[in-house]
Subunit: 480 residues, 2 copies
């Protein structure tokens, strides 16, 4: 099946456009693509005519060309008719928005079987049915919700595949935007009657070169496809990350009313994923943090360290003792270890502090530089820590409240960190006035988080990726 | 000791003002109180004169009145001299910013003993040493960091007491502001040489009537004061909430370099806290969610339900199946239970939906209303669920993306929820364009969160508070 034409179409047809209801899904899809995106779009309406200045064709076979993809936003029975037309006309791919298939049981299951047969017999790459659509910037956006209501994530390295359309547009789009995590393509797979997570893993892992990280929200694998998925994941050059819903008893009950699938036995699933180099997020928060790290690091000009390192040994650098304590409490939970400094190292750290602060600062790990800190102190500490071989990652908890910390600190640290090639994860409070410092670091592809927990999760993301890199003998964002 | 004069002073002296360095702590404290707060403030500088238009007095005994509180922002030895002067002049309270006491060991411990003796012998309520100060709006702010650098939380019901100044101004102030959680008073207790967490619990629990909730960040109790703290907590009318740092092995090592105290054996601590009706947050995120719920509910005009209910049985109402699944996965972890609906209840829920959506919606628990939902559907579902006795709390996952949901939905739901008196916790995505909906609910004191996890934590906060209410036979925010 030609997924390239599905995700990067040159031309697209849309059926299911209402002339009366401005909120009809087909109409929303037609107009947002016509006015906002690159794909050439053709609207089909039995009466022909026009809509907000856009010409409508009365039949699919009257279009000036065979479109690469047909978006079908009509009732279930009409959907089957349109898929038959795709087969007849040689339209290679389709996105089916509407429901009324397997998710309603009974008659719906039969309909889905019919749909499946036509698609496979005619090699039509069908997404859905019962999905919110595909977002493939800057080419296409078939998400049927009004543009102004949803939040579009930036362009980036993550192919995002979700079994729930609501989770895709809400939990992911909103939080990707907030955290500046970029997507290459986002896909709501709905009932995944034809194109499923395994086919998508193959496409994004081998064909799509904009993608470096492939993330899945799943409530279970498609029947009998788990083994194939895992096999592909193990070979994938890209980082594969999953987050499963429906993993508890109450959650499993919930999925039965939703997409009729089960994440199954979590322990077996976890072991299988780990064995096949899939990185598992155990919570939404972990997923977002991991993706932020992987997306940012995919874009670094100068990669970090080398791929033989397993990032478990960290140094914590703070200007607040309490932040150090909270951070230290979390690192054990995430399988990390605070390196113990030698007396020589402590002396070196101390020598590199201003004379007033060096008397009250603490040079254990976590290091507490105190509120008497200067810019140069933080810079020097990062330099010294970067040069200590057995420190694999620095967790920098940077509170810009001390009066002598300047707003240049971000840029100055970014240069040092980039030159030293030691992974540094930053905490900076999420306050608009500190965005200058935050942006200085993010422009240099140094990941910044806004909670201590996320900093620790991010360090564990490096460790997880390092393990997979080593096993795959791959060198993604680590130097050879 | 007179803590009233410490926290609600009419007049305040400040020593340690630099005429040369605009960033000296004493100078920052003098000017921010002079220009921004209600307390009458007197600056003391050996040379006298004036600073930015503010008159300076050359000696403490030259002030026109005995101040209620003296802020001391000088070196450790001078600090002792000033505390002696407080004793001589009858100044009843003091806030000591500087370090050089027990936290540095050796000589510092002796100094702190001396300070302690003078304070107790002369009944001087001393906060600190080694603290960032007190924020008591709108009267006083002795936090020595520049006003423009820190974030001030709104006024509210939470007395916030922190053993770490950095955690107070960063993790709490920033996140309180973000979540609209209000403080009555915020205190950095530093080395707590004199005034400690137990005295503060007593003051905020019995004297200060602006406070309904007392929150502590501690890395351990002050020596031999745990029993007294717990005794007071058990009797307190207010809700007492703790979050402990330094509870893991790595965290304990970190506290030794910080404030030389240990949270001790976590299991024993947890059991003792529970037995004494202290609500324990296990993470910062839990603490913030609990405080948000308690602060909002302290301000409700019409209280919720009655105090015999233990809020464990919930209904989940969403317009996205995936959100329901993720929520259902979390509720078990937080000791909550999704109520099972009877067939009659499901029919009633279905009848109250628009005819198109009722065919595709799912009326199990979680309820999935789908993207075809109308405002009136959500309103009706909340009405029906509110009338089902055994549902104790409704978790409403409100995604405003479906095209037919209006921006009036917040106000309309707020009225229904207020009238029905059934606890409802809302999720709404944290996107500026949806602030109209968010604010409609928050104005009516209905708590809104921006992650599914926080919604579940919030429901568990109700359950925890309900348990404590029942045991205390108190009626805080529940009707008699």
């Amino acid at each position: 099946m030609d997924l390239q034409k599905l995700f990067k179409p040159k031309s697209m047809g849309v059926v299911g456009i209402s002339k009366k209801n401005p909120l009809s899904p087909g109409r929303i899809i037609l107009l947002k693509n016509e006015f906002e995106l690159q794909v050439k779009v053709y609207g089909i309406h039995p009466e022909g005519g026009e809509l907000e200045g856009v010409q409508l064709y009365s039949r699919l076979d009257e279009l000036p060309e065979i479109p690469d993809v047909l978006v079908i936003a009509v009732g279930a029975d009409d959907t089957i008719n349109y898929i038959k037309q795709c087969a007849d006309l040689g339209i290679p791919s389709s996105i089916i928005i509407g429901g009324g298939f397997a998710e309603i049981g009974g008659e719906g299951i039969k309909r889905q079987d019919q749909l499946q047969k036509i698609a496979f017999d005619n090699d039509i790459a069908v997404i859905g049915p019962n999905c919110v659509g595909i977002y493939s910037p800057p080419i296409m956006d078939t998400i049927f919700l009004p543009t102004e209501r949803i939040t579009r994530p930036p362009k980036g390295s993550v192919a995002l595949i979700s079994q729930s359309g609501g989770v895709l547009v809400d939990q992911f789009f909103v939080k990707f935007k907030e955290r500046n995590i970029g997507v290459s393509t986002a896909v709501s797979i709905g009932n995944r009657a034809v194109v499923d997570e395994t086919m998508l893993l193959e496409y994004f892992g081998t064909v799509d070169d904009e993608t470096s990280n492939i993330a899945f929200y799943l409530e279970g694998f498609k029947d009998k496809r788990a083994r194939e998925f895992l096999k592909l994941a193990k070979k994938a050059e890209d980082t594969v990350i999953t987050f499963f819903g429906g993993v508890t008893k109450q959650g499993r009950i919930a999925t039965q009313s939703h997409t009729a699938s089960l994440a199954g036995n979590l322990k077996i699933l976890s072991a299988a994923l780990k064995q096949h180099f899939v990185i598992q997020a155990k919570s939404e928060s972990e997923l977002l943090t991991y993706l932020k790290v992987y997306d940012v690091l995919s874009q670094r000009k100068k990669p970090f360290g080398n791929n033989t390192i397993v990032y478990g040994n960290v140094a914590i650098l703070s200007v607040s003792g309490g932040h150090g304590v909270i951070c230290a409490d979390l690192i054990g939970k995430y399988g990390l270890n605070a390196v113990e400094f030698t007396e020589e190292e402590k002396d070196l750290l101390k020598e590199n502090m201003n004379p007033i602060a060096q008397e009250i600062a603490s040079f254990n790990n976590p290091i507490d530089l105190t509120g008497s800190v200067l810019d140069t102190d933080i810079e020097n500490q990062v330099r010294v820590l970067s040069d200590i071989q057995r420190i694999e990652c620095i967790l920098l908890l940077l509170l810009p409240y001390p009066p002598n910390i300047s707003f240049q600190i971000g840029r100055r640290l970014a240069n040092i960190i980039t030159a030293k090639k030691k992974p540094v994860i930053c905490f900076i409070p999420y306050v608009p006035k500190y965005s200058l410092i935050i942006e200085s670091l993010e422009i240099a592809n140094i990941p910044v988080f806004h909670s201590i927990k996320e900093v620790v999760q991010a360090a564990s993301a490096l460790k997880l990726r390092s393990r997979v890199n080593n096993l795959k003998k791959s060198n993604l964002f680590w130097e050879k």
